[in-house]
Amino acid sequence: MRVSVTTRALIPLAAAAMVTALTGCGSQISDPASANSTASGGSSCVDTSGSSVKVGFINSLSGTMAISENTVFDSLSLAAEEINAAGGVMGKQLQVISEDGASEPTKFAERAGKLIQQDCTAAVFGGWTSSSRKAMLPVFEANDALLFYPVQYEGLEASKNIFYTGATTNQQIIPALDYLAEQGTKSIFLVGSDYVFPRTANKIIQAYAAAHGMEVLGEEYAPLGSTEFSTIVNKVRDSKADAVFNTLNGDSNVAFFRQYKSVGLTAASMPVVSVSIAEEEVPGVGLENVEGQLTAWDYYQTLDTPANKKFVAAFKAKFGAERVTSDPMEAAYTSLYLWKAMVEKAGSFEVDKVQAAAGGVSFEAPEGTVTVDGENNHITKTPRIGKINSEGLIETVWSSPAAVEPDPFLASYDWAKDLGK
């Protein structure tokens, strides 16, 4: 058989490449114990010799998540501006490098790699969806770099390379359930978008309900971005539950609440507790559709603290009076200040020193004082149940008496023992 020139040319090429590959390959993992010791693979290239230090912001500036993540980007920018105006971090001005995650996990992983390896940033701030965080986590661990993640999430995670400044489940979901139980809610219906956060949250809710004599009458998921809720709303209505626990994401909320209302369900007849609707989403959902409904967060724009008044005023001054502030924005704003405090406590920008100094660092945040838990890299937060008022803002109707310690694995809750196994 005659082999074509092409094929003949490729054989030596392939062979050569194989040889390169085999001789050039590095460490092989034969012993798990030694494998873990190679963890500090990435040597930091952060340059702190000049008068400035680089930090990275990574948010979806395009794609479906841009709606939410642009707001986080804005409040991060505000914090950076404030810090620079006040003299920077350890006397060094922050030089922000911003990357677009484009609402794709893969893009987040790639861009995070760029911020760490190419741009040599001292710390990275951002991410929103669980999938974007999960995608970035290995990148930060492999390069031993720092990510500050500002959004409430499903817990069950504690990487030493990530600081979680949003609420974990025991700072948002469990307090919301406690509130419902306190109000005499005997049965609930779970509605969520079909992805990690709602599914994990609902697992926790199921366990909580089982332990507290609450009945879960249904658990329904809509594909992300779905706008067709006739069936789900019919099921909800038919269940005659006392309340609905809503973990829907983004535009699905609009469709859900419109269709919820159109079959005659109201905040009075069957309240909905939402964990993903913040101030900036209310106008899009339509105030007339959600007025009077409940939300569970740790921060609302209406909070009456000096730090918050300053934050809201500064934000409106920079971005316009019509803009609102929300929980993730506050958590992002806080995250940059927390990093500043950690660096100053450590007296160094180096990752291991910052990590070592992190425990106990606290900041007077708009939501109240927050303190970093050195064990799990989460922060203390004050859960609050809010009600959407006639202006589209959210008013606190219930608040935890004290800040709640983060417990991402729910280790301190007996009923949660079987979760995450």
């Binding site: 479906t64 841009a66 709606i67 642009n70 079909d194 329904e220 998921y221 809509a222 594909p223 971005g225 779905s226 706008t227 067709e228 006739s230 069936t231 789900i232 019919n234 099921k235 209505r237 038919d238 535009d251 909320n253 609009v254 469709a255 419109r258 269709q259 209302k261 159109s262 079959v263 005659g264 900036e280 989403e281 106008p283 899009g284 959902v285 339509g286 105030l287 007339e288």
Partner: protein, 294 residues
């Protein structure tokens, strides 16, 4: 019982939304062979039309009634421009129209973002469409009923135009045999423009309608486009009646699947079912019989 009626109506209602979205496509894709991926964005333009109109006419009822013809006009004009600038030269390359209009679609999405902002905007439903009527205990949302009626109205209008006007005769002639129509002195140029205008206009109307049930944002169209194409394909290209049957069948089936499984599985089942159905009947429910092979 109550739930059953509610679910049946949910199916019909979903079907009517699909029909509204697909009706225009059955003209532009079915009759002209253009695979217009920007059809969803024409819906989005219609939805934003409703938003803009509501800003100047504060009465939600009046603004809705004004938005419907205006949405038709906006969608139709966008379609006309697209036809004149791009598609005109591509009728003999239907597959390429898919990619070109996809490009147009992402441009329009970004344009909407830059003009109206990324967050979705609120289009209020008029007071007389809020609430529901009871049918044997099941609540029938008025907005849904309105969309059902609107879709039937559009259908009737379209059938009327196709069957009873000179334009309709020209369209049908061009579908059956383009070359013959041309040689018989029918100006296919004008016919193409008008067909595309009407088809895209219907997308605009659909866009106005869906503001009543969903969110109005730059990516509104992407929720409907794949489903709408499946309706046209399953119904049989060039067949309005096929599209009607397919839309309602899909609506009811999806509601049934969604009810008995989950929304995600229901969606997958529907998609797989259509692919399977087209194995059995590659020409869709109804097929156009001509002597030429296509």
């Amino acid at each position: 019982m109550e739930l059953l009626i509610g679910q049946m109506f949910a199916g019909l209602s979903l079907g009517s939304v699909l029909l509204l979205a697909a009706l225009g496509l059955s003209l532009t894709f079915g009759q002209m062979g253009v695979i217009n991926m920007a059809h969803g964005e024409f819906m989005m333009a219609g939805a934003y039309t409703a938003f803009v109109v509501q800003r100047s006419i504060s009465d939600a009822g009046v603004s809705l009634l004004v938005s419907i013809p205006l949405g038709f006009l906006v969608g139709g004009l966008l379609g006309l421009v697209l036809e004149a600038v791009l598609l005109r030269r591509m009728y003999h390359r239907p597959l390429d129209t898919l990619l070109v209009t996809f490009g147009v679609a992402i441009i329009l999405q970004q344009a909407a973002r830059d003009i109206f902002g990324a967050p979705s905007v609120d289009v209020r439903a008029p007071a007389w469409l809020q609430g529901n009527i009871e049918l044997l205990g099941a609540p029938i949302p008025l907005t849904r009923l309105f969309i059902l009626l609107l879709s039937l109205l559009c259908l009737a209008g379209l059938v009327l135009v196709l069957k009873a006007t000179p334009l309709g005769r020209r369209i049908r002639a061009a579908v059956l045999n383009r070359d013959l129509a041309e040689t018989s002195g029918i100006s296919t140029r004008r016919t193409d423009q008008l067909t595309f205008f009407i088809g895209s206009g219907l997308a605009g109307v659909a866009g106005v309608a869906v503001t009543l049930i969903g969110s109005t944002g730059p990516y509104l169209g992407t929720n409907y486009i794949v489903d709408a194409f499946l309706v046209v394909v399953a119904g049989g290209v060039g067949q309005i009646k096929g599209a009607v049957i397919a839309a309602f069948a899909l609506g009811v089936l999806q509601s049934v699947f969604e009810f008995s499984t989950t929304a995600s599985i229901g969606k997958v089942l529907i998609l797989v079912l259509i692919v399977g159905f087209l194995q059995l009947r590659p020409q869709g429910i109804f097929s156009l019989k001509t002597r030429s092979l296509t």
